[in-house]
Structure formats: structure tokens, C-alpha cells
Symmetry: C2
Subunit: 198 residues, 2 copies
Amino acid sequence: MLPKSIQTAIDALSDLPGIGSRSAERLVFSLLRNQTGLSDRLADSLGKLSESVRECQACHNYCESELCPICQSSREHKRICVVESPIDVLAIEKTHEFKGRYHVLHGVISPMNKVSPDDLRIASLLQRLQASSETEEVILAMSGNVEGEATALYLTDQIHRLTNIKVSRLARGIPSGGDLDYLDVGTLSRALIDRGEV
Amino acid sequence: MLPKSIQTAIDALSDLPGIGSRSAERLVFSLLRNQTGLSDRLADSLGKLSESVRECQACHNYCESELCPICQSSREHKRICVVESPIDVLAIEKTHEFKGRYHVLHGVISPMNKVSPDDLRIASLLQRLQASSETEEVILAMSGNVEGEATALYLTDQIHRLTNIKVSRLARGIPSGGDLDYLDVGTLSRALIDRGEV
């Protein structure tokens, strides 16, 4: 019923995570209604994504040159924060609490999804740690789920086997502004065990 | 901090209605992670939108040729359903309750947003009604808000002035599956006034 070009755009948009076919319909019709050339701007910017973006040779974050701006910067070499994906770098940068460098794994170990350590940027992390004498601490900033925990355990083991660099991980506890009675048992237990004196 | 091509794509996506900068970030990073060429497919389909899609000469719905498939079809000429926008045609078609033709206004009369009757496809509707001897009924399917009501009133007046075609509008009442205590007073009053014997 719909013109082919509209249907094709709806189908492509609804392949995005979190966008169902109804939202995709609304988005396409609003693009058609839009008079500012947004659809062309969007097409242009999305078309350039895959050709412009590549992985930093050092930390594997997304960038447009051989090294990402952080690896090119003068930020301290003492601490490396290991994250699952480039969007996590963005999240941590927004806190302004971390002055070190990153290493992006591009995934977590997940036997269910057939992701083994060899599919991640783990070998290059270990190589990086062995090559540098400046690194004092590796901060594991994995997600709090089973796969994140398993990846953190695996990394801790590998790093301890090859180097004597300190390995730390993000604190567990109640989120800021979180209501106690909405928290799961695991988080609350962790927060109790790791309680700090004030 | 982000590579320019990523930031540009985030900015363009967050100009879409209902997509904030955080969702746009997540979408762009998931496009970068996607291995199936979705970003190129999306870029391609959105780029073709503005060049392929135009308005049907008769009903002003979106189409790719001079007349839309519905205007080219053998559907009955007796009833014309007037809607605000092409997405409303889609919504009504999904009900399978309407066998007639459409007329798309591309907006509603709204002095607040400086939209006057001349900015809408109203002249062409009146022309279409005067030119055809087959039309027996015009169904006004505007939204239930103030601007929709005002547009419906204006159209009723114009159509009655020029023709003696019957003008009807969508029924008002409680939505299917709607809880009475969540309904606004206006809808509930209307549903009471228009109650039907069973």
C-alpha cells in the first residue's frame, strides 16, 4: 500500500534497536513533512559513518585517524580503564572523574552468544600492559551482569598471570537517587557488605 | 571528544521527534556495532525519500507517480475521507472499514502556528468535490483537538456553501479497552450524549 521508498525507509529504521514499526512509520512521515532537509542530512551523516569511523590502534575506541584523541593526548598512562564498548567511554568521560586512558574490548565473553576471549580486544590489552612500564592500575569497568562479571574475572586472572599491575573494579552499591525498596537483593547485599564509615 | 562523523550523526538523529541526544547516541553506537551494513542501508533509503516521494495530484497523499495507488484503483468515488496527514491514511487503511478515497490536507488550520486555510490542500478539495458528480459523502477525520475541530468546522461550512454533499465526522466516545476513570470529562460527556441503544 505504501510507496516503496517509504516502506524501505520504515523497514530500515525499524531494524534499529528500540524502534518498532509504528515508531519507524512516525519517524519517516515526520521526515517527509520536515522542510529543513533533515532526511538528506541524516542520510549523508549515516552514509559517512561506516567509511569514516575506525578503531584506534591503541585502545580500540572509535576514531577517524590512527589514534583516538585520548591516546594522542597527554593524559596519564598510569591508569587504564577497560570497558565493553565505545559508548561506555563516553559515559565515563561525562563523569570527569577519570584522567587515564581506556581500552575497549568490543564485547564481553559470552558462551551463549559464542563470544570467546579471542573475539575481543583482550590479546592487545595484555600486549599493551606488558609493553608499558608506566601502567600502575587497570580499572575493570564491565557491566554488573553475569557476562560482565565473567569477563572481569577472566581479565583479572590473565593480567595477574602476566604482570603485577594492580587490578580494580567499579564499586557496587545503591545508585544515586535510588529508592531502597526498588533495589534488587544482590545490589543491596553488596551495598551492605561494602558499607563505608562516614 | 567524539569523532566528528559520529557527533554529526548523533546531532542529525536527535533532530528526529521523540529521539533525545542519549537515544541518538545509543542508536549511532549500535549502528557502528552492527555488522550487516544497516547504516548504509538506512542512509540509502533516507536519501531516496526526498527524491522519490511526491504528492498525488488528486488526493495529495504521498506517492511515487502522478496518482497514488488508491486514486488509480477502482475504489468507490462515493465517499471521500478528509485527513490531516498521510499517516492518517495509513491508520484508516489498517481498519479495513473504509472503501472510498481520501483527501490529505497536510495540516490543520492553526492561527497560533500561522497556518491558514490557504496553506492547506483545501482549495483542491473543494474543486474536486465540485468537479465530481459521484461524491455523496465527505467524512471529516480530523484529530479531536481544538485545531482539528476548527478545521472540521471550516470545511463543513465551505463544503455546504458550494455543494450539497453530505458531511459527516468520526464518532466520539470511549476508546476500545479504555478505562472509564482514566478518560477526560470531554470524551466521557460526548460518549454519554451519543450513547446508542443496544
